[in-house]
């Protein structure tokens, strides 16, 4: 252990003991907490504590993932119980503070679960339906520590992985990551160690580690949660990645607009510089590494690896041609490696506990845990981290508790807006990158939108395609025009006014997109339609005839359907939208010449 790290650990031990020596109130105030009203609860708790003149620590933490129970207030008293209070509104603050913080007696009516110590009448946190099957690795600190606080992070094992890595040869660290079987969590599940090997093999003095937190997938919120709950695990992982590959700079790439993840990441970076965990000669090892935050405007495609590099350079987030690949020519022309931030967030624990420890979790070829975001028609909405190998049904029905009103689940939307629909009959599929791919499903970045039997598959597919259409960067026409065309055809379907041949037309457009698009956005852009058709073909056909089983209401989508169109007037691309490419297509006779 390095001297520098020993000193950090000693400081952390003292701070941790101090924190635990008096009442400690944690309130989850990330984006999720804010949406549930946690800021008002936090204010009420602060007022109550000062009114009673209590000496208690009040900490804003990230989210535990138990979003359905937010606002969540976690109260711990020295020698007393530690209790999570669910749905804690401002009016509950007096009871919580007076009884529990002041007198050490839990408020049973509001208690969701107890931590570490058994409390009569209150279940243990680990026994809650949503927690039972979880295994926390990347989210181990979520809701437990103040995001970006080095002492609290170190007290829970933080930076031990970095300290260990810095005492190893870089090649040995890389080998450890390879052996762990870690695969990318950004969608493609590429082996992380292999990817790092490409960068390590390049001898340029300036090399970048890019951490992708664009997280444009609606329905996914796990990347933002990692940053707003525990940004230090990302930073530690990023430095280890830099050391293993001989890189000099790290960039955390985040979408502009969500303040909590951005502010907390910045604060964590500053704290690391102050403690010699970033910058020159990290922990006295001789290794130097810088990390900065880069923000991007609203753009889904900015999450694509080469578009991301363009955006870091301050340009339009339009994908580049490959080759050259990022490991040869990346951001600013320097060799670069891109990982999703969850991928990197696993690295500290992999190094600290060893590759074998990680490889023992999960399935044969999907190692470790999956972080799934449960939303939609689901009782226990939020975030779960589970070992690979559980079935989708376990995740949705046991952890998620199924539909809140007990209605049957019809399908899951998985894999983000380029993913597809997974019919309920397919839910016995195991969570496993390869199993899912074989069945034509995508885990993607982990968004699971649960839909009950009142949801129209056609309507939801239209929403996904409307999203993909507005997010096309416009660089290549199979995607730019193909998406618009698909949307028009789906609009007709939703209105029950399809033309004969529309199904075949969609297929042809989709085929052109797949083979003729530059990046994954266009190549995968037909996925939502093809997957919905294969699972719910009959419903589609009925809807296209105007005999759909479920009512579909009017739909208003975003006005700026084409990039650049928010400027006054028409853009050049607007003129070639719609039927331009396909207008010459013969309309089948039965259509009577079309609309």
């Amino acid at each position: 252990m390095s001297d520098a790290f020993t000193r950090l650990e000693e400081r952390a031990t003292v701070r941790w003991a101090d924190l635990n020596a008096k009442p400690w109130i944690r309130v989850g105030t990330g984006l999720m907490g804010e949406a549930a009203g946690a800021l008002e609860t936090l204010d009420a708790i602060r007022r109550e504590v000062s009114k009673l003149g209590l000496d208690a620590t009040i900490t804003e933490v990230g989210t535990t993932g138990l979003c359905y129970a937010e606002p969540l207030v976690d109260v711990q008293t020295p020698g007393g119980p530690r209790i999570l209070y669910a749905n804690a509104a401002p009016q509950h603050a007096p009871a919580i503070v007076e009884c529990h913080v002041k007198d050490g007696r839990p408020v049973e009516e509001l208690a969701l679960g107890s931590v570490d110590v058994d409390v009569p009448g209150v279940p243990r946190r680990e026994e809650l339906p949503m927690m039972r099957l979880q295994r926390r690795v990347a989210l181990r600190n979520a809701g437990e520590i103040e995001p970006g606080d080095i002492d609290q992070y170190v007290a829970r094992g933080g930076f031990a992985g970095l300290d260990k890595a810095l005492a190893m040869e870089p090649g040995a660290v890389l080998e450890e990551v390879k052996q762990s079987g870690l695969r990318g969590r950004g969608g493609a599940a590429f082996p992380t160690g292999v990817k790092w090997g490409f960068l390590a093999g390049n001898s340029s003095p300036v090399k970048y580690i890019l951490c992708n937190c664009e997280e444009g997938d609606p329905g996914a919120f796990n990347d933002k949660t990692v940053l707003e709950s525990d940004p230090l695990t990302l930073i530690e992982g990023c430095v280890i990645a830099g050391y293993a590959t001989g890189a000099s700079n790290g960039v955390v790439f985040i979408r502009h607009g969500h303040d909590a993840p951005i502010d907390r990441t910045r604060k964590a970076i500053d704290a690391c510089y102050a403690d010699g965990l970033l910058g020159v000669d990290i922990l006295g090892s001789g290794f130097s590494f810088d990390v900065e935050v880069s923000l991007v405007g609203e753009s889904y495609v900015a999450g694509e690896e080469t578009a991301l590099m363009e955006a870091v350079e301050g340009k339009r987030s339009m994908p580049r041609f490959r080759p050259p690949f990022p490991a040869a020519y990346g951001v600013w022309g320097k060799p670069s490696n891109i990982n999703n931030i969850k991928t990197i967030a696993y690295v500290p624990e992999i190094i600290r506990n060893g590759a074998e420890w990680f490889a023992a979790i999960g399935t044969e070829r999907s190692k470790g845990t999956a972080i799934a975001c449960l939303s939609g028609h689901v009782r226990y909405s939020g975030l779960v981290e589970v070992p690979f190998g559980l079935t989708m049904r376990q995740v949705v029905e046991e952890l998620g508790g199924g539909d809140p009103d007990g209605k049957p689940i019809k399908f899951l939307q998985t894999g983000g807006p380029l993913g597809g629909l997974l019919a309920s009959e397919q839910l016995d599929m195991a969570l496993d990158f390869d199993e899912m791919a074989k069945a034509g499903a995508m885990f993607g970045s982990g968004g699971l939108i649960v839909c009950n039997d009142e949801t129209s598959a056609v309507d939801l597919t239209r929403v996904l395609v409307a999203f993909d259409q507005m997010e096309s960067c416009g660089k290549c026409f199979p995607c730019r025009l193909g998406m618009s065309h698909l949307l028009e055809i789906l609009e007709r379907a939703c209105a029950g006014a399809s033309r004969p041949g529309d199904l075949e037309l969609m297929e042809r457009v989709g085929g052109n997109m797949r083979s003729g698009s530059l990046c994954g956005h266009g190549q995968l852009g037909y996925n939502p339609v093809s997957s919905a058709l294969s699972a719910f073909g009959a419903e589609f056909e009925a809807q296209m005839r105007g005999e759909g089983p479920l009512p579909i209401g009017p739909f208003v989508g975003p006005k700026h359907a084409l990039r650049g169109a928010q400027l006054e007037g028409e853009t050049p691309t607007a003129a070639v939208k719609g039927d331009f490419v396909y207008a010459a297509e013969p309309v089948p006779a039965a259509a009577g010449g079309g609309a």
């Binding site: 984006l31 309507d459 939801l460 006005k559």
Partner: protein
């Protein structure tokens, strides 16, 4: 281009100068101006071009690409409605159409008196609490049509 005492231009310049980014680019500068001024005034384009050694065309190219950039001062209040898939299955269209009707709008835009602007958001990032809206950037999850109507009415400054 260099007008002396133009307060707006001064604000733009200091936003560019004091931006919280280690690496300064056209995009980081534009985002900083919009955060500080609330929109991109004409002056932003040439000041950013000057500061980043880019052409006016390059700056316009970036500014026009990302739909969060705006070129007119924002309305007094902003309502955001999430139309992402989770919120959609949880009833976002109803919320959206109520808000449009209340504000007399047909799509994203502003009321003629400039009091309220309505924006569609592809995902407010709080799907576990869908359907979600934001009022002057404060997130509200699991919002009911009644609450939404009351909040919009309060912003519009009249009865619901």
């Amino acid at each position: 281009m260099t007008t002396a005492a133009d307060p707006l231009r001064e604000q733009v310049r200091s936003a560019i100068r004091d931006q919280p980014f280690r690496t300064r680019t056209v995009l980081s500068s534009l985002l900083s101006v919009q955060d500080s001024v609330g929109y991109l005034p004409e002056a932003a384009i040439d000041e950013v071009a000057l500061a980043t050694d880019a052409t006016i065309n390059e700056v316009w190219g970036v500014a026009s690409f990302y739909p969060n950039f705006r070129f007119k001062p924002p309305a007094d209040h902003t309502v955001e409605v999430c139309w992402g898939p989770t919120c959609h299955v949880l009833g976002a269209q109803r919320l959206l159409q109520d808000a449009l009707a209340q504000l007399g709008l047909e799509n994203e835009g502003e009321t003629p008196d400039g009091r309220v602007g309505l924006k569609l958001n592809t995902c407010l990032g709080v799907c576990a609490h869908g359907p979600a809206m934001a009022f002057d950037h404060a997130l509200v999850g699991r919002i009911t049509p009644e609450t939404a109507r009351a909040r919009v009415a309060a912003m519009r400054g009249g009865a619901a």
